[in-house]
């Protein structure tokens, strides 16, 4: 195996360990946003789609690269937006007790 490949393997193994360490501390409350957030991160494959698009020189490659670009972009953009929508809802109400009053105020505003 080439030195480059061995370096890449080391990177892969270390990144897996970092992933276990970072993620195992997340409370169950946030598991769905986390799954969605991790889902958007693997949209990084978009970078791969860009690289094959740049090197494409025949119709088959054009089509493959175009579909890969579309899929990857959908994964990235949609993933981050939907995760943001979920996390946006986890806002803290500091005074939950006078809730109906607060709701009326919201209604007026």
């Amino acid at each position: 195996m080439s030195q480059e490949l061995l370096n890449a393997l080391a990177l892969f193994v270390l990144a897996i360990l970092v992933g276990f360490e970072v993620i195992s501390k997340v409370p169950a409350t946030l598991h769905t946003p986390l799954m969605s957030g991790a889902n958007s991160i693997h949209g990084i494959v978009l970078v791969g789609a860009m690289l094959i698009a740049a090197e494409a020189d025949n119709p088959v490659s054009y089509v493959l690269a175009f579909v890969a670009m579309t899929f990857g972009a959908m994964n990235v953009v949609g993933g981050y937006v939907v995760t943001d929508r979920m996390l946006q809802m986890f806002r803290k109400k500091t005074t939950p007790k006078p809730a109906p009053a607060a709701e009326q105020a919201e209604g007026k505003a």
Binding site: G37, V47, A68, T70, V82
Partner: protein, 482 residues
Amino acid sequence: MSQAWIYTIVYFAWLIGAACFVLGLHLMNSPATGRNGNRLSAGGMVLAVGATLVDLVLRPEGLSGIALVIIVVGFLLGGGAGLYTARTVKMTAMPQLVSLFNAVGGGAAALVAIDDFIKLATSDHPADLSTTVFVVLGVLFGSVTFSGSLIAGGKLQGLIPGKPIVVPGGQILTIAIAAIALIGTVVLILGAAGVLALSSTVTLLVLGLIVAAGLVFGVTMVLPIGGADMPVVISLLNALTGTAAAMAGFVIGNPVLIIAGALVGASGTILTNLMATAMNRSVLNILAGGFGTGDSTAGATATGAGGSVREVSADDAAIQLAYAQSVIIVPGYGLAVAQAQHQVRELAELLEAKGVDVKYAIHPVAGRMPGHMNVLLAEANVPYPQLKEMDEINPDFDRCDVALVVGANDVTNPAARNPGSPISGMPILDVDHAKSIIVIKRSMGHGYAGIDNELYSNPKTGMLFADAKEGLQALTAAVKAV
């Protein structure tokens, strides 16, 4: 600027992007920093993608017009579709959207690997062994996760029946398909190693076979699994997509793909295990299907258990709730299906205004994904400090006046404490410890496990037979009148 310098800067941008992914995931530890974490992660993505574009434009050979069109139009088309669906989807339909995004991500990873393989197979110097291994694995993982995630999403959306679909000899078929993919992989690897002499036409045909086998395998793997197990399956496929992206990273020698893919692979694996553990099942058990097949036999035995059940009217239940000191609400799948999260919040606020202490008990697998119930309730503006996780809330049931169970079944079944039940050992909410219990449920039908719930025949329990939404509306109206 020299080419080496540009590449160094781009490489640094990739590394910073990868660091943003790690830190972003870390910030998702807490609801307070979660949103910033996601934004940091998105910033890392913009940086990594932007740096790649700069790198491609500044290359000596430049970026051809057609490549630029592919990149820009592809991005706008896919990004636009993603943006539109993510903005407009209802929060209850969100699990299947995540599944869809996972499918296209896996599809993209497979396509990148396929394109690379075609290039290698048709070039003059044959691919080396290690590249072939990564390409074939990327193609295989990507294809499985593409079709598997589409089926999983289809089941959640109701396009495909949620109950396990068992084809006679299905397992043998699945094994046969897996064997075809495996043999194809071995043939290609032996070809790359020089053991077998393969023409480029043959290698491409074998690759096509592997893609087809991967796609079919994804379908046959997910179809026999019940709808309630879909979260575990999506989580598993999410991890697989991450791994596919990492494989693509090996092939094109890109560090950010390897790091990000490995991160997602690790997170998906952990989530999968957590989910399976919470349901007292092993991942292998879920993949093998079964258990959920209790659906059909449930109806036959359901009538027998109904004997000693006490029914309660909305008015009586409202009086109990309004004069309670503390109420614990146990929301479940039924609440999610009826989209009654706003109604439950309304009722809770009304009770709080009357001085009742209201908390929500969230079982780890309430809803359709881990933490899904939290998202649904958060959408309805329930303050998250009121949402208590199982271990935290269980001791509180002893001191609680009324436990209000809305559309939850198996996770409240005391049978889990005794051996000999299909759900024995499953962690449950100690709802039966409450002084009195009100259960809103459409019928005496069974939950996913297909067994009777002893809670319903408990003398302390009153059953309010209604759809979660209608039942809560009736309760709210009755509490207002108290």
